[in-house]
């Protein structure tokens, strides 16, 4: 039995007429992240290390989450140079994938879970930490707690010496523009809006989150499973809003049966306890991973709200979604490889 990995860059109403250059860029980024995952797991890194690495790295490659022409804005932080050769070669710059609250601030959250031990760590309300998921790992390993948030989490980050930047780093003209549009529409959405030119904002039921989350799941050749998810949540969300991502059982979950990472409308994922349900169906009803995820995506959650990636101890790898599209990539040791948007 070999390894399996899957990663996602968010599910949502991704327009099918997305500019070809953007498609290519995103696919190139997905490919790159997939390669990082494959390299890690083939080199016998633990699934926990692999998911952390991939989610951190994905974060540096914004394009998965941005849906506008990157020429629209740039990030001059030299650390990000060289992160995405394709994007730089075509003149695009790497950006930070964060969206803004209704106050124009940034609040990020993440969660990591180790299927073999069911240990996990989660953080919410981060404003200056570059790699939220690495902080979750520290919460898991260095504190007596599981979940730290806001000021407490920021203080802990400083204590641990993790990399922080000024929160203004995350506030780009693009994000500000998106926030303006969301406010104008009185909507709370991370929707697929093309600011140039302005098109009809695809109306999402209840106007809730679609894109803006990154996740990775992995299973190694010994059957160890792990999952990690990271996000900035919804554009125009209320300050202090916590979504599904950091909540074990909702957006992220791993046990000895499977590892799951979700994306989509946070409030829906939470109420349907999506990630846990996939595992529960396998454990209690004896369904396969595919049957369990199909059920959850088709029956437990309304259309247009949810996407997920999952791997199982039986080495199945699935990436179902009930939205228009989901940025995703997956691979297994026996050669299966897939990158997709719709």
């Amino acid at each position: 039995m070999g390894w399996g990995v899957a990663l996602h860059g968010g599910a949502g109403d991704i327009p099918r007429d997305l500019l070809p250059e953007l498609c290519q860029l995103r696919e190139a980024c997905l490919q790159r992240c997939l390669n990082i995952a494959i390299d890690g797991i083939s080199a016998h890194k633990s699934p926990l290390d692999v998911v952390e690495l991939v989610v951190c790295d994905c974060l540096l490659i914004h394009i998965l989450k941005s849906n506008v022409c990157p020429l629209y804005f740039t990030c001059s932080d030299p650390r990000f140079k060289g992160s995405c050769p394709q994007s730089e070669a075509s003149g695009f710059h790497v950006l930070l994938p964060v969206v803004l609250t209704n106050n124009g601030t940034v609040e990020m959250e993440a969660c990591i879970m180790d299927g073999s031990t069911k240990n996990r760590g989660a953080v919410s309300g981060l404003t200056t930490v570059v790699n939220a998921v690495s902080l979750t790992r520290l919460v898991m390993e260095k504190t007596a707690h599981i979940y730290l948030a806001f000021d407490g989490a920021e203080a802990f980050a400083r204590e641990q010496g993790v990399e922080t930047v000024d929160s203004s780093h995350f506030i780009t003209p693009h994000n500000i523009e998106r926030l303006k549009q969301a406010k104008a529409a009185h909507s709370v959405q991370v929707d697929y809006t093309q600011p140039l030119p302005i098109v009809d904002e695809p109306q999402v039921p209840n106007g809730d989150s679609q894109i803006g989350t990154v996740g990775c799941v992995a299973v190694d050749s010994s059957g160890n499973l792990a999952a990690a998810t990271s996000t900035a949540g919804l554009v125009n969300k209320m300050v202090g809003r916590i979504g599904d991502t950091p909540l074990v059982g909702a957006g992220t979950y791993a046990n000895k049966f499977c590892a799951v990472s979700c994306t989509g409308k946070g409030e829906t994922i939470l109420r349907a306890t999506v990630a846990r349900d996939v595992a529960a169906l396998i454990e209690y009803k004896g369904l396969t991973l595919k049957e369990a995820t199909d059920f959850v995506i088709k029956e437990s959650t309304p259309k247009g709200t949810t996407g997920l990636i999952a791997v199982s101890a039986a080495r199945e790898v699935v990436t179902p979604f009930n939205t228009t599209g989901m940025f995703r990539a997956c691979a297994t040791q026996d050669g299966k490889k897939e990158i997709g948007i719709w």
């Binding site: 240990n119 202090g240 916590i242 909540l247």
Partner: protein
């Protein structure tokens, strides 16, 4: 079968040396809250309103670890959290990091009913509270002398104290100096569970609801979130049941306890008591916790694998019970 049912809890994991007066006080409070819930149910108040009402009462009383009487953070302040879930439609609301809202459970209800989200925390939640015009008080309101004393003890023992109510005079029996403390995430922790409070109800129409509220762990890090506000972990309500948990937050989260009770009912088709027993026996591994649950058939059940749980339950056909030990 059928008819309403209600259960309340005031925390799992009780000091075996708890003085008799404290035990009586606890039982009185549980009885009083149970009766409040029962009157409400008799006047046909829906389950979701009943759980909120009862938990408000528990929060206002300083006896248990929620609202007034909450455990203190390492900074000596109070940070409360709560969640509520309406099985009818599985709507939910949760709050964390609350320091000036008099009744966190009511704020959680407002998040569910009046905001586009399901979970608000810290300053954002306090802002929302102000906008909603809920009753706000100074953080001092929640702090009791007992707790200030307990925090000191906890710091001295350098552990995260489960039960902040260990009598100050009985240091010999204090868990902080117990021979083989339980370890939580590698740090020693005393044996006693924090007295989180909760209520679950199924009303005459078969609708289930659940609510949980707490101040968290004594001497916890600022910003620490436990199981109580996490839907699926500390609280859950669906079509089949309503569940509220208490005990080691770590174990409850890892076992997604509340959701699992519902999941084994849904997917393994177990009855309520069997589901509760299964989850307590199989989902806690080395952790200690307890829970209360009701089913849409009008049944009530509870279970715990630790030393006692403050609880009370009642059903429409006249059954009523308040207890602490096995």
């Amino acid at each position: 079968m059928g008819g309403w049912a209600i259960a309340v809890h005031g925390g799992a994991g009780v000091d075996p040396n708890l003085p008799a007066e404290r035990q009586e006080e606890a039982k009185h409070l549980l009885t009083r809250c149970l009766n409040i819930g029962i009157s409400a149910l008799r006047s046909s108040l829906p389950a979701i309103d009943v759980v909120e009402l009862v938990v408000r009462e528990l929060e206002s009383d300083p006896l248990f670890n929620s609202g007034r009487g909450s455990a203190l953070t390492a900074n000596g302040t109070v940070e409360m959290e709560a969640s509520i879930m309406d099985g009818d439609g599985r709507r939910c609301g949760a709050v964390s990091g609350i320091s000036t809202v008099k009744n966190p459970i009511s704020l959680a209800r407002l998040v569910m009913d009046k905001s586009p989200h399901s979970y608000l925390a810290f300053s954002g939640a306090e802002e929302f509270a102000k906008q909603q015009g809920v009753e706000m008080v100074d953080n001092d309101y929640f702090i009791t002398e007992d707790n200030v004393g307990m925090l000191k003890l906890a710091k001295e023992a350098n552990t995260i104290l489960y039960d902040y109510r260990i009598p100050i005079t009985g240091l010999e029996s204090c868990a902080a100096s117990v021979e083989s403390p339980i370890h939580m995430n590698g740090l020693p922790i005393s044996v006693y569970a924090p007295e989180t409070v909760g209520c679950v109800v199924v009303d005459g129409q078969g609708r289930c609801a659940a609510a949980t509220s707490t101040g968290g762990l004594m001497n916890k890090m600022t910003g620490r979130i436990g199981d109580s506000p996490l839907i699926g972990a500390g609280t859950y309500a669906g079509e089949l049941c309503g569940v509220s948990c208490t005990g080691e937050g770590e174990a409850i989260i890892r076992g997604t306890l509340a959701r699992d009770v519902a999941a084994v009912m849904e997917y393994k088709e177990l009855g309520l008591q069997d589901a509760v027993d299964y989850v307590i026996k199989k989902r806690l591994d080395k952790g200690f916790a307890g829970l209360i649950a009701v089913s849409n058939k009008g049944e009530v059940a509870y279970g715990f694998n630790c030393n006692g749980m403050f609880r009370g339950c009642a059903t429409e056909d006249g059954f009523m019970e308040v207890g602490i030990w096995e």
